[in-house]
Symmetry: C2
Subunit: 318 residues, 2 copies
């Protein structure tokens, strides 16, 4: 079975771990969000791709969900001693090595997709990890700070400001001009199932879908497209998806997110058992819906979620 | 008193520490060798400039004479795990931060001289540290390896091969087209004394002198030029200067190095007390010479050497 998964960072990575356990023989391709990529200290940092790679490759800091295990911060301390910023982005020494290798390869002319493949040769994530695009796409968030409206990089909004102010708009700068990375459209054309993990619907999956051609390729694949709600009981399970949903005028409910994707894109939707009342609303919108436990508390629970998603896909197909 | 010092790495840096102690009120400008600069992992590394900066700024690893104190090697280990080389150049995590800042600034368009000044704002070396040139000059060494003659980067010869094979030629690639960095010619024009520390006469001081205009500016300054022999008792005090001297056909003796610089450039020369017999030979070549202890065993001994050099300069001037 060929499964294509659109993934952001922590939520997507953890779901993928469950999916691998649930479908060990499946051929899994991950289309990773690169809208939150950022240039720091002259280095290209791809937080979502790295979170997937480290999580599936056994190098992740399990507690925080991002960054490397057994990490140290000598480089960061030194940069601070040089007065070179920003200091709000927590790059560790081990993590720096990844960005150094990536930046060197990009500088040598390799596209991000080839670089990602090379990095994955070490990590052996057990999935084919593709950036959504080799072109630069950068998610900006419009905010009002000190009475003035301005746009900040998504990471600045998320990490520095900790989403403490309202997001007025979310713009994937460069998306319109971007092309899907090599392999992306092919993987979708050959997919048996497409899954949306419980990732941020706006800045993770939404950004992947903003690359022209990807949304159309999913629709044209003619296979079941099933998503898992990142909203449980009217709040994001983790992160600050509610801020992002408000920015695009979508309510923070499991049903509203499904309707935002829409029946033109989505065939099936899993909501948490706590949101059973949402099932009827989602089905009324033309999307098959089931309520199951959606908390990724451990690998077993996550694998069960993945099995439910695959079961719903088969139900849709039948 | 305005003193200009041409410096390589460890020998130059340690001598400068003695000079600062010997002449605390002097205005010292250092023209640093950049011929051993190397690009590693896409980062610009300037070993000699950094050794001077770290040594005078209190950040040097005293035992090895280069690199940072309390160093760790997480980035290096990770690069190795990625299979990205070379692994023979020992960059530590703290050191990496310097190269990251430098590379970022160079990428932003600042010349190396401005970058060096910015880095020195943190280290406060107590001297004005100038790269010999903002242009790329790279010292290559011709060697015979496996029966074939080839040119390797100086660092590859020095660090990877540990000078284990003969150097057939030493070429400062790019030197002919290079220009002295801003401030270099001005410092020489305003100097009261010019000193050559016991640095490598070929790949350190020789490379600085290979930048068109520097040798002429020293001659035109019309001030005493005094050097200290890096050769004691027919062998280099440290490093592998003998290999480099052989490559340019100069004997490994204190007198031969003085004669290699020549009386057109050098006014005074200090040899070690062990080389008293060299004094007459050097003086016969038209260079005033004294035999004094030249082992930089501690700060006092090094300051005494610097005082001897300044005294010899005054003798020359009188």
């Amino acid at each position: 079975m060929r499964i294509v998964v659109l993934a952001g960072g922590i939520g997507g990575a953890r779901f993928l771990r469950g999916l691998k356990a649930a479908a060990p023989d499946a051929d899994i391709t991950v289309i990773g969000n690169t809208g939150d990529d950022i240039h720091l200290f002259g280095l290209k940092v791809c937080p979502d791709l790295d979170t997937v790679m480290y999580t599936l490759g056994g190098g992740i800091n399990e507690e925080q969900g991002w960054g490397r295990t057994d990490e140290t911060f000598q480089v960061k301390d030194e940069l601070k001693a040089y007065g070179v910023g920003p200091d709000w982005f927590g790059l560790g020494d081990r993590d720096f090595a990844t960005h150094i290798v990536r930046t060197q390869m990009l500088g040598a002319g390799y596209p991000l997709s080839a670089v990602t493949e090379a990095l994955c040769e070490r990590w052996q994530p057990g999935v084919r990890l593709l950036p959504m695009s080799d072109d630069r796409v950068e998610t900006h968030v419009a905010v009002e700070l000190d009475g003035e409206r301005r746009a900040v990089h998504f990471q600045e909004y998320w990490v520095r400001l900790r989403a403490s102010v309202d997001a007025l708009a979310v713009v994937p700068v460069g998306a319109e001009q971007s092309k899907p990375a090599p392999g992306v459209l092919e993987a979708l054309a050959e997919a048996d199932v497409v899954l949306f993990p419980p990732s941020n619907p706006v800045v993770s999956i939404g950004t992947v879908l903003a690359v022209p051609g990807i949304r159309e390729a999913i629709a044209e694949a003619g296979v079941p497209v099933v998503g898992l709600s990142p909203i449980v009981g009217g709040a994001p399970v983790r992160g600050m998806a509610d801020k992002m949903l408000s920015a695009i005028g979508v309510e923070t409910t499991a049903a509203a997110v499904a309707e935002h994707y829409g029946s033109g894109l989505l065939d099936g939707w899993l909501v948490d058992s706590a949101d059973t009342e949402a099932v009827a609303e989602v089905e009324a919108a033309g999307i098959r819906c089931r309520a199951v436990p959606l908390m990724m508390t451990d690998l077993d629970a996550t694998a069960a979620m993945a099995r439910e998603a695959l079961a719903l896909a088969e139900e849709v197909r039948a």
